[in-house]
């Protein structure tokens, strides 16, 4: 059976080779359960669809063209789980992209995808609970996420503060699963780097005003401000902070890499603001995603989760290609290692890259996908690590200030742990 599959895959690859990029006469559906009704959720869905379009341009995956069926989760676990179940049962999907919130992804994983043997790839769920679940062997290897940023990012934040010589920092964090994680990690990393944390203040969703929270952080008179927020509450809190005369030395999590945030706060106040993010490795081809995105949407891919969502879709589709036609969810999940192999042939994150990957896979080789979030590499629990970058805002978007390779990141994290 396995052999037959491999043979089928090779055969499919050969056909693609010989026929070039002609449209396929069959269609495979993949599911996406994303919160399209939320302001930051909509672009995440758009960019996943964009990845699917690129793959179809390259002739589809697994020998067929791909159709992405998108369902709205409304950030409501009930609705999200039901949508996922409908995708699995009614549309017959083998791969599910989503969800964004850990609170939605988790029940989908435990009650839908794992029992049904469907591979689930989330762009943005950050909860450490997934790692634990996987360690207990309850995900059957079906769970992946392209969200690498919590640990790497907190370490980078501490590095920025230490490099700049900021002695004390106040933290404002979003009071959700990601923000609570960030606040805990960054506080520990600051302490390890010898930076004093003067205040660690939660910013709740849906509050009429953040005045009191900002005042709370302000009274401690820190050298700098660390922000683990989304643009919506981020701009409100930062405008308040600046108008009250707070320092303009700021360290931003990658969720604030957003034009909306820059425009509403004003570039003139963000001169001393440095952001952190995970990054692509230093090869020219790694800018492929950025270029393709700009061509399609007319702006830089700045916003929470965009690059992660693109990589999630791309890797899932590459794995489908590697697993071949009629592969099961487990087969596809097993094939993820083949397309994120550190020793494999490097391919870029665009149509051309996908075509190149098809050729390599058809010849029985493995592929190293150089994605929008970097040289994605999953560990046994479906978690990723990646190189990191420090960035700042400019007129047209963002520009890179400093780049750290994967080894440098690992070394710095290790130095903090001491």
């Amino acid at each position: 059976m396995k052999k037959a599959l491999v043979f089928a895959a090779v055969a499919a690859g050969m056909t693609t080779l010989s026929t070039g990029v002609q449209a396929q006469d069959c269609t495979i559906k993949i599911g996406a359960a994303l919160p399209t009704s939320v302001d930051w959720g909509r672009p995440i869905a758009e960019v996943a669809q964009f990845a699917v379009d690129q793959v179809n341009e390259a002739g589809g995956a697994g020998g067929c063209s791909i159709e992405m069926v998108l369902r709205d989760t409304q950030v409501d676990p009930k609705v999200g789980v039901d949508a996922a179940k409908a995708l699995v049962d009614l549309e017959g999907i083998k791969v599910l992209l989503g969800a964004v919130s850990s609170g939605v992804s988790m029940p989908i994983l435990t009650s839908v995808t794992v029992p049904a043997g469907v591979m689930q790839m989330s762009c943005c769920s950050s909860s450490t609970a997934f790692t634990k679940l996987s360690e207990e062997g309850k995900t059957n290897g079906l769970w992946f996420r392209t969200f690498a940023t919590t640990g790497v990012q907190s370490a980078m934040g501490a590095k920025v503060a230490a490099d700049k010589g900021w002695k004390s920092v106040a933290i404002l964090y979003k009071n959700d699963d990601w923000g609570q994680d960030m606040s805990r990690l960054i506080a520990a990393d600051f302490a390890a780097a010898g930076v004093e944390v003067t205040a660690n203040v939660a910013i709740n969703d849906a509050q009429p005003s953040y005045r009191a929270e900002v005042t709370e952080a302000l009274t401690s008179q820190p050298d700098a401000l660390y922000l683990a927020l989304y643009p919506t509450e981020g701009k409100s809190a930062v405008r308040e902070w600046i108008s009250l005369g707070g320092t303009q030395n700021m360290i931003l999590a990658n969720s604030l890499k957003s034009d909306e945030f820059r425009d509403s706060v004003g570039l003139q106040y963000l001169g001393n603001a440095l952001g952190t993010d995970t990054a692509s490795p230093r090869v020219e081809s790694a800018d492929a995603f950025k270029a393709a995105y700009e061509a399609k949407f007319g702006s830089q891919p700045n916003g929470p989760g965009l690059a992660n969502s693109y990589d999630a879709a791309m890797i899932a589709l590459l794995a489908m290609e590697a697993a071949g036609k009629d592969a099961s969810g487990a087969d596809i999940a097993a094939a993820v290692a083949k397309v994120t192999d550190p020793n494999g042939t490097a391919v870029t994150a665009d149509t051309a890259g996908f075509k190149a990957a098809k050729t390599t896979l058809a010849e029985g080789g493995t592929v190293m996908y150089q994605g929008a979030t970097g040289n994605v590499r999953f560990d046994a629990n479906g978690d990723v690590s990646a190189p990191a970058v420090v960035w700042k805002f400019t007129d047209s978007g963002t520009e890179e200030v400093e780049y750290l390779s994967l080894t440098e990141v690992d070394a710095f994290i290790a130095s903090l742990k001491k």
Binding site: D39, P208, R211, A212, T215
Partner: protein
């Protein structure tokens, strides 16, 4: 500490404005209107549209007034938005609440208002998009009133406070000095008796909605001026405004004013004691505390 207190008073000013309308409607129509806070959204978004229109028609109006981030265009927009919001409140009542009132019981109204809130909020989201909007992108810097203890106040906030106080005083004059005010109170006390004495009920109800909607719109715009406006601001404000109403006592305009300030101050001061994650619970704790001590609020009267 003193900064929190001052901030609380400034936040309280728009909560009070919102609560006045709510308390009047609740008193006369006897139902907890969960869609009242949506009137603030309607007002704020109306002003956003008018503001843009006036600025493009008469560029001179786009200039800022003194140290405020308020423009002439926005000032005119406030008046227009208040009128439109008042009118839409009357229309919502005519077409929805009044009919539900005739059909069912008062608590059906509570649920109808839940439904209305959902409809209004999401229609605004569909029309204007889900992300937050600002009247002015410039950041207005705060004035330093004192360095030790540090005390900062934004000019906009002072303006909002003074404007709110003037509006409240005007309302006070209307309610206490005019025939209209007497009729309104008569209706609230005993509708049947008031009607016997020749008070036109329909007009009175419409008047309450116009006042409530108008003040709500002003509150929404002031809120937007101080922070930002989003389609879900009604959802964020509904509990604090209810808290202000209940703390003051349903039906008491002066109670609502005081309640707004109390809730504003309490929410700000709470952070001194509670971890910041718990701030959304504060309005609720206020409600509970007041109800335990005075079941009808500070100024409310017991009523069956």
């Amino acid at each position: 500490m003193i900064q929190h207190l001052v901030d609380g008073i400034l936040v309280g000013s728009f909560l009070s404005l919102g609560a006045i309308g709510l308390t009047m409607a609740m008193h006369i129509l006897r139902f907890a209107n969960f869609s009242h806070a949506e009137l603030l959204s309607i007002g704020a978004y109306c002003a956003l549209v008018f503001d843009k229109v006036f600025e493009s028609l008469l560029p001179i109006l786009a200039a800022k007034i003194g140290p405020l981030s308020m423009t002439g265009a926005l000032a005119i927009s406030i008046v227009l938005s208040a009128a439109i919001t008042g009118l839409s409140a009357v229309l919502i009542d005519r077409f929805i609440f009044q009919r539900v009132r005739q059909k069912g019981e008062e608590l059906s109204m509570v649920f109808a208002s839940f439904g209305m809130a959902l409809i209004i909020r999401n229609i605004i989201g569909l029309v204007f998009g889900l992300s937050a909007e600002l009247y002015s992108k410039d950041i207005a810097f705060a004035m330093i009133l004192s360095r030790d203890p540090l005390l900062l106040v934004k000019p906009d906030q002072v303006f909002v406070l003074i404007a709110a106080l003037i509006l409240m005083f005007a309302l006070h004059l209307v309610l206490s000095r005019t025939t209209f005010g007497f009729s309104l109170r008569a209706v609230a006390e005993n509708p049947s008796l008031a009607q016997v004495h020749g008070v036109n009920l329909k007009c009175m109800i419409a008047a309450v909605w116009i006042i409530g909607g108008g003040l709500g719109a002003v509150a929404g715009i002031f809120y937007g001026l101080s922070y930002q406006i989003t389609p879900v601001m009604g959802r964020d404000l509904v509990l604090p405004i209810f808290a202000a109403t209940i703390v003051g006592g349903i039906g008491s305009v002066y109670g609502a004013v005081l309640g707004g300030f109390i809730v504003g101050i309490a929410s700000n001061l709470a952070l001194v004691i509670l971890p910041s994650g718990y701030s959304p619970s504060v309005p609720f704790l206020m409600i509970l505390a007041v109800l335990l001590v005075r079941p009808n609020g500070l100024f409310g009267e017991a009523r069956a």
